[in-house]
Amino acid sequence: MNLSSLNWNSLLPELVIVATSLIVLITAVVGKVSRVDRIARGHALAVVTLIGLLIAAGLTIMQLSQPASDFMGMVQSDALSHYLNLVILLAAALAVLLAWDYLGRFTYSFSEFYSLLLLAVAGMMFLGKSTELITLFVSLEILSISLYILTGFNRHQLASAEASLKYFLLGAFASGFIVYGAALLYGDTGSTWFSDIAANASGGFLTLAGFALLLVGFAFKIAAVPFHMWTPDAYQGAPTPVTAFMSVGTKAAALVALFRVLQSAVSAPYETWAWALAILSLLTMTVGNVAALRQTSIKRLLAYSSIAQAGYMLIGLVAGTVLGLQAMLFYLFAYAFMNIGAFACASLLESDDWSELQDASMANARGLFSRQPLLATALAIFMFSLAGIPPLAGFFGKLYLFDAAIDAGWLWLALVAVINSVISAYYYMRVVVVMFMEAPDESTRVRLPIPDSAILAIVIAVLGALLLGILAGPSFASLGQAVVAWRF
């Protein structure tokens, strides 16, 4: 075998990310610097990370026009993975902007943070491309391991450690099932390649059990009910930039990987898995929304909301059509902007007191409009978008998802989703009302310092949430062209 005969081109963005990660890591051991310099170095590392992400995004965009390619049959570079890459890279870039100042509040391990973030990005990107079970599993583990550590990165906070422990133990538990499922599929077909699995599956109980267990792993990562229990705790305890990143990146990668598995490896009849996913979707959005109703912490509220959002996105998979996939990808982009934007605003409302569980509580947002009208407006835009109020991105995302569901004959699911949207409007609006209508407390009258990097992140997110809404037609259509090219 000749290394140069391999199709490296199809892995270019991932390689750039890994290389950046190494570069970032190496600086950790070069020279000794004072504390002030450390912060400066942290910023420099953030810049390097951003550059790496940008290059990878650029390469991905260049690949968009190229035909699909594979690497030794292990991964497949196609429109699906390219769009996924863009979502992940976007989420990571926004997270880096958030971490820029936030990180310095509790750690000096900048290079480790950014390099782990990049490794997680690489894991997600590989996950979305995998067409083989071993590759899929290792990619999943890369992203999981990195995120376990990132979740517990704030060592001054018990909540962070607890979140990390819960996420880790449950994640490893779920890994056990996913890998067992993969083993059963291998036993059934004698191969770990999706194409062989689809071709050779016996179609018996073993195949079905294998898929069921595989699905568990994805459902865990997507945070679908009843595999969601870790989500609120991990999201609340993790440093906010990490929460923002994983709430989008992990979900996106797992959804796309699941889609790939369903379309290219599953030999079970459509009705079987579609109904399973439909029920998961129903449970996920309902539980997420109902549980969010009573939250007093904006961060935890957003965690539950992200569970509910995962439920909406599953609708795209249930439909299993071009329209469904297109809608899901569109929603992922919209979700990346609005959800990370919301977490960005929440991170500014947090206090620095790590000793107890003090995150962005609703009380901190009281009367925000009369203190910082722009911040309040931005958060309101994200809330409106998440609630699905026109003309923001979230509205169109839901519109397309529901349309895809109805188109594929899942009218009842679309109706349930609409009812859920109405429920969700209640708690999203609650945040807005608190910011705009309540008078600020004396204690919350202070102006929050907003670092420039956070402003940039929020501005990008606002623009994204607005433009994806205003340009919904063309962007949806362009996703459509790419997705149609994908073999169904």
Partner: protein, 650 residues
Amino acid sequence: MIFDYAWLILLFPALGLLFNAFFGRRVGHKVAAIVANLAVALSFLMAVALAMGLSALPGDESSVEVLLWPWIHIAGFQVDMALLIDPLSSVMILVVTGIGLLIHIYSATYMKVDDEHQPMDERRYARFFVYMNLFILMMLTLVLANNYVMLYLGWEGVGLASYLLIGFWFYKPSAADAAKKAFLVNRVGDFGMALAIMWMFFLFGKEAGSLSFDAVFAALETASPAVVAALTGVTLLLLLAATGKSAQIPLFVWLPDAMEGPSPVSALIHAATMVTAGVYMLARSHPLLELAPATMTLIAWIGGLTALMAASIAIVQTDLKRILAYSTISQLGYMFLGVGVGAYVASVFHLYTHAFFKALLFLAAGSVMHALHGELNIDLMGGLRKKLPVTYAQFLIGALALAGFPLLSGYWSKDAILLGAFVTSYPLYAIGLFTALLTAFYSLRAVYRAFHGQPRDEHLYDHAHEQPRGMTWPLWALAFGAVFAGLLGLPAIFGKEFGFPVGNLIEGWLKPTFEGLSEPHVAFSTEMALFISSGFVALIGIYLAYARYVKQSGWTLSLQKALSPLQPALENKYWVDEIYFAVIVNPLRALARFFATGAEGVIDGVVNGVGAVTTAAGVGIARLQTGLLSWYALSLFLGVVLLLIYFVFA
């Protein structure tokens, strides 16, 4: 073809706002202002070019749709991002960009100091222009939209810009409250708009496959009687929306408070353009209104009564900008009256002249405010014409135009509306005429109190200084418009009778939009009588003000005494705020409290109403998240086993 580039008109302000949003605070005052002004200037040029392009088209084809991109496209229903360029929208874009440009130029100087008269920092200065450009962008979207959904986008967008600008001095509680009030009151109206659009979607969505004006109006021709009956409901909701945006009864209360925003904002948004969006929207929807005569009547009466009420309140106000705010409400009432009696052209004509003289008045008031370091109470002014001769001249021109002084712009347009009212209903005409008297009185009252007589506050007077040059010439340009803009709308009948070379230009221009509707026409003698009487009424009003405030004649004082029982009602603005507070604000507060703290009793109550099952689920689900890892793992394992059983036995 110029229309292929129509999107440029939106692009320029968008670029301007992006530039200032990202770089504004780094480039300094000058560049920020130049960029913002340039953006609007280019938009204005584009608007002129579009209008010229439109005039080159034959009369019956003078409506162009420019598709930007398909926006929403689901199962047989499509909404596009598309611009509709027709005579009506061309008038609107000319007003928005033209007046907008002059106000931008004025702001470049005016906003160099903040509300405390301290130099403004770059950041806030740039932010101001970001909002202003955002407003222009959104207003253009609103008036250029070819469908109701896009119009609604612009509608909410101008609202957003308006709240942000009202609350521009957000650290002042009064400004923050005013922004909040505007936001809340407008929500009511916007809710009506959203409902109206949804209703139209159900009425026409399937048939027309779109909510574009063309498609909806075309669908009307084949509409069943049931649909026509439903139109009354739709138009009432549209009317509700319009009363919110255009500050009419019952939703006018936010506009006077909106004067907390910087003066250029009051001039641009709360006088010349945004508040006229309601009038524009109703005029645009005239095919719907024509099928709903009840709504038309209601519009006319709302307009007439609002005009009268606001004008009467303006008489006792002492805050210069508030006088102008009530006057704006009153003038918008005239426009509603015009729409209600079917005199759409007259309404749009008044909208256009009003933009000039009201912007002029606000900017002049702004320059008084500048001169007096933020003081706006006319009781503390007096004699300013010696100190501020230029401002005085400008303000006087604006006030006379507003008063309907014969041959100035306001005179022609107000008369056109009164003519329409006269044809339709004598009571409405009487109300309109009486309001004209009040209008003339309060506008000149403001002039005399502020600029004539003796200074009432020596300290203020001594420190007053004339406006800087950067503010002067936009004001003169507006003053020019305030004097001559009316000439575009000389009654056609004059042309016929006096042999003018040109007839009613504006009516001819707007004819294609309001095709098939006949503007009210009466005999020449009647028309002349109406003109003379309204001119006479205006002069009486002006004389009354003169007699009361300059000559201080005894009989005016006794007249005032005779009318004094009315004074508390006027000074308290008919207690509308108080009534709203009791009837709307308090319940709203309760609602807010419910939203904010509803976690405990209230939500349980409400949810109980919906169904005890949900409550149990809500409580249960929250409690399921016990925080205990074993429990989480159990739930996971349960899921695993259920999935397995499902897959194996499915």
